[in-house]
């Protein structure tokens, strides 16, 4: 379990890293934390001819909030890709071989929003078999004014649930409606089975967790003023 030989490039800036990526074409991989890459190299499942290390790229660091948006990483913007267009499959994104993800930007939830999060993993810290997260906000009349519901562990990419969100938006989130939204959200999922959990398990538990996280999010909601 030792990697095959590769070139090592220590990039000093994002531009430097992109330049290196261009030089090697498809043959280079970015080395950031190495959590996935290093085992892949050791198992010889990945055989890049070069690793471009971005750990010394000072311009890729930072954390900033502006206009309700939290930016993690560089503020300089090159090309924006919405999250649902970025993730294609496990370990696969829509980035081109000479592109580098320089930052991630998150829309902050509205004031008074509540959140819920739940996952089932075989062990503490393992990839979730199924996971679910929700953010809800209510308007003055107690109807849902903001709904975000997402799943992970139920497919090759994170899944944001349009039917789950739609089932709640603009409505009063009664317990029955929460159950209905959770069911609607889980119904359209098509997870895979693996050694650790069957597809059927993931689908069933996705509904259970969605119900729980929506309830938790509601319990944390403050009313809008």
């Amino acid at each position: 379990m030792k990697p095959p030989a590769f070139e090592y490039v220590a990039a000093s800036s994002a531009a430097d890293a992109v330049e290196a990526l261009r030089r090697y074409g498809d043959e280079a991989k970015i080395l950031a934390g190495g959590q996935s890459l290093m085992p892949m190299l050791a198992l010889r499942l990945a055989r890049p001819s070069a690793l471009v290390d971005i750990n010394r790229c000072d311009d890729l660091e930072g954390l900033a909030e502006s206009g309700g948006v939290l930016t993690v990483g560089a503020l300089a913007r090159q090309r924006d890709i919405p999250a649902d267009k970025l993730y294609l499959a496990p370990l696969t994104t829509s980035l081109e071989s000479d592109e580098l993800a320089t930052s991630a930007r998150f829309q902050l939830p509205p004031e008074g929003a509540g959140w819920g999060f739940a996952e089932v993993a075989r062990r503490h810290g393992d990839f979730a078999l199924v996971g679910c997260a929700a953010v809800l906000a209510l308007d003055g009349a107690g109807a849902v004014s903001h709904a975000r519901l997402g799943f992970f562990g139920v497919g090759g990419t994170p899944v944001r649930s349009a039917p789950g969100e739609a089932a709640l938006m603009g409505r009063e989130p009664t317990p029955a409606r929460v159950v209905e939204a959770a069911k609607a959200a889980a119904a359209v999922l098509s997870p895979d089975g693996d050694l650790h959990a069957s597809a059927d398990y993931r689908k069933k538990v996705a509904a259970t967790l969605a119900e729980r996280v929506l309830a938790a999010a509601l319990s944390r909601c403050g009313r809008a003023r």
Partner: protein
Amino acid sequence: MGAKYFGASVRRKEDPRFLRGEGRYVDDIKLPGLLHAAFVRSPHGHAKVLSVKTDAARRLAGVTHVFAFVDLERWMKPLPLFGAIPPGLGARVDVTMKQVGQLAMARDRVRFVGEIVAMVLAGSRALAEDGCELIEVEYEPLPVVTDMVAGGEPGAHVLYPEWGDNVAVFFEVGFGDPAAAFAQADVTVRERFEIQRYVGMPIETRGVVAQWDARDGSLTTWNSTQVVHFVQQGLVAAFGLPPHKIRVIAPDVGGGFGTKATGYPEDLLIPAAAIAARRPVKWTEDRREHMMSAGHARHQVHDIQIAARRDGTMLGVRDRIWLDLGAYNSWGIVLPYNTVAHLLGPHRVPSLHVECRGVVTNKTPNAPYRGAGRPETVFAMDRVVDCLARELRMDPADLRRKNYLTQADMPYELGIPYRDGNPLVYDSGDFKAGLEAALSAVGYDALRQEQASLRAKGVHRGIGISGYVEGTAIGPYEGATVRLDASGHAVVSTGACSQGQGHETSFAQIAADALGIPFDWVTIVGGDTAAIPFGVGTFASRSAVNAGSSIHLAAGKVRDKIVEAAAALLEAAPGDIEIVDGTVSVRGAPASSLPVSRVIQAAIPTFAKPGVASPDFEATVYQHQPTVTYASAVHVAYVEVDVGTGAVKLLRYLVAHDCGKVINPVIVEGQVHGGVAQGIGGALLEEMVYDDQAQLLTGTFMDYLVPTAMEVPPIETVHLEYPSPRNTLGMKGVGEGGAISPPAAIANAVEDALAPFGVRVTRTPLGPSVVLGLLGSAAEK
């Protein structure tokens, strides 16, 4: 003997070096000119090897040597086999057994994924692996056997054409009149249980370094093994050298668990490579290799029945047992018979019939792993006992109270021989008292009340009990040499090797007490064939009793020599000599005190006079242990099951155990904790999975899940001490015990938690998907 150290929680001598990173493991051995080895391993579960082409690999820059079977043929004797049938057992039980030793490198057939086909040496491990990629092996795939039950039937594909079938071990054994017992019973319960394939997973993988010394034609090999003398015997047989020319050293070893107590191809291949290359060679097993080629364990099926009266009195047990041995029957009678001998455990059962089959399959060969048949058989028994309790509508604790043996029953003969051929006679203990101690310490009645009140609120908690009786400290011996140096400090050499158990501490406690010297004056040397010529090794909860007894007796002999020399020197009667803390004195004459070193120096001849005694203050004892001594325990697990997700949370875990006289309570607790952690892994997480093509699906730590500190709750321990009558110090083994009961206790707790749903647990590990599946299928009934 005054026991100053025995029984005290003396701090472990070995810990400072481990905590500072100053231990020395096989991979830390660096030698000038060292070459690194890597292996080509079979990607097929079963195949003929038609050709091995090595030319391209030989031409790769950095690669120095490439070996296929033909290149090493003269040394390729079958690996050592274990588990021959002792005469005493053969006389009582008719065993059919077939054993073929694995060749260190496959000649013309591979029988599991991971079997070695070729070896490459290079200046670095990475280059050696590059070389391996250039070796072309032509295989002709053969049909595979993956199911032990179907594979044991006539007509299955066979691994060994000359056998005609795959049943490598078969026997029936029992006592009493099971037919009558089942005919008379008010209630009988039958269930089929499967214990999954799971394995010892030491933090330090295996590793071998070997160096050939052309000067005197001797070989030194460092091996992360639990059994240096067994490794030496294998090398003696392969190379035809006398034992003293082959030195096997196990330096610090980071966990063994039985996985490192078996014979491995690399034990031979790395020394053979060092001899052939005339350069030192190192191989460090990587985790992927460990997963696919280090000994697997546990996988069994039990079709078990129990018969009882309406009041819960047990009348008889019948069991049909299958063991999946993997591709080679390296361990003979050991695992099958261990399984049978430990089936009934603490229960009084007047009749038994067992039919036992060990079946070879196209999977990694099995080796004993912490418990070695006991966790499997206890799972079957304790699960069927809980099924019986449910059938009788009896509290599972009460059913056990009714049937557990007590001190008044000791000695208790089971009616079958033990694996060593001697009668299976429980020598000591009080299993019912152990049960009561466990139930009282865990607060059983209060937990039952809590369970009922939470159940009403939709919270599902369960309590599970499991008890075992374990034959520990199997002989026939472990030797010890105790020798004093001129300062009166002692060196103790023994064949028992430590893999982290704290031998340097526990054995020093025994030696210091017996010699009358301070604990710090004792150095323990284990894991070196040059230190003692004969040995067995550390496994089977055997070292405290076997090595400890020999150390105690040898140290006593050395003490007698000091007493005699001191008596001559001080002109006193030997009976009046006392040795305390390294000081010799005459009873009632404190002014006469001398350090032990003075007595030793007085024994060394000078030009003026001969010594007062011979200065070899040294003794060797190979104490014979004809049979085992019985340790026991009761484990209680308390779990909560999320019926929405199937997730099992272990809330509490308690162990009440008897390992006889405790040498060092903290070390014993450490052993119990480590064993329980591995048992929790078996109950909830760990499984080596093969597909129907005999491909291993769990090749990394992302697939094979070991428990972390987050999955192990604080373990509560109650020590009970029923001294063993079978050795001078009253000790019993404790190394394996912790791992035996958790799968049964936790499975019982999960079923108990889900009792309102009518769930029956027949298999581990109980991952959330499995548990939710059980709930689903129970709902369909």
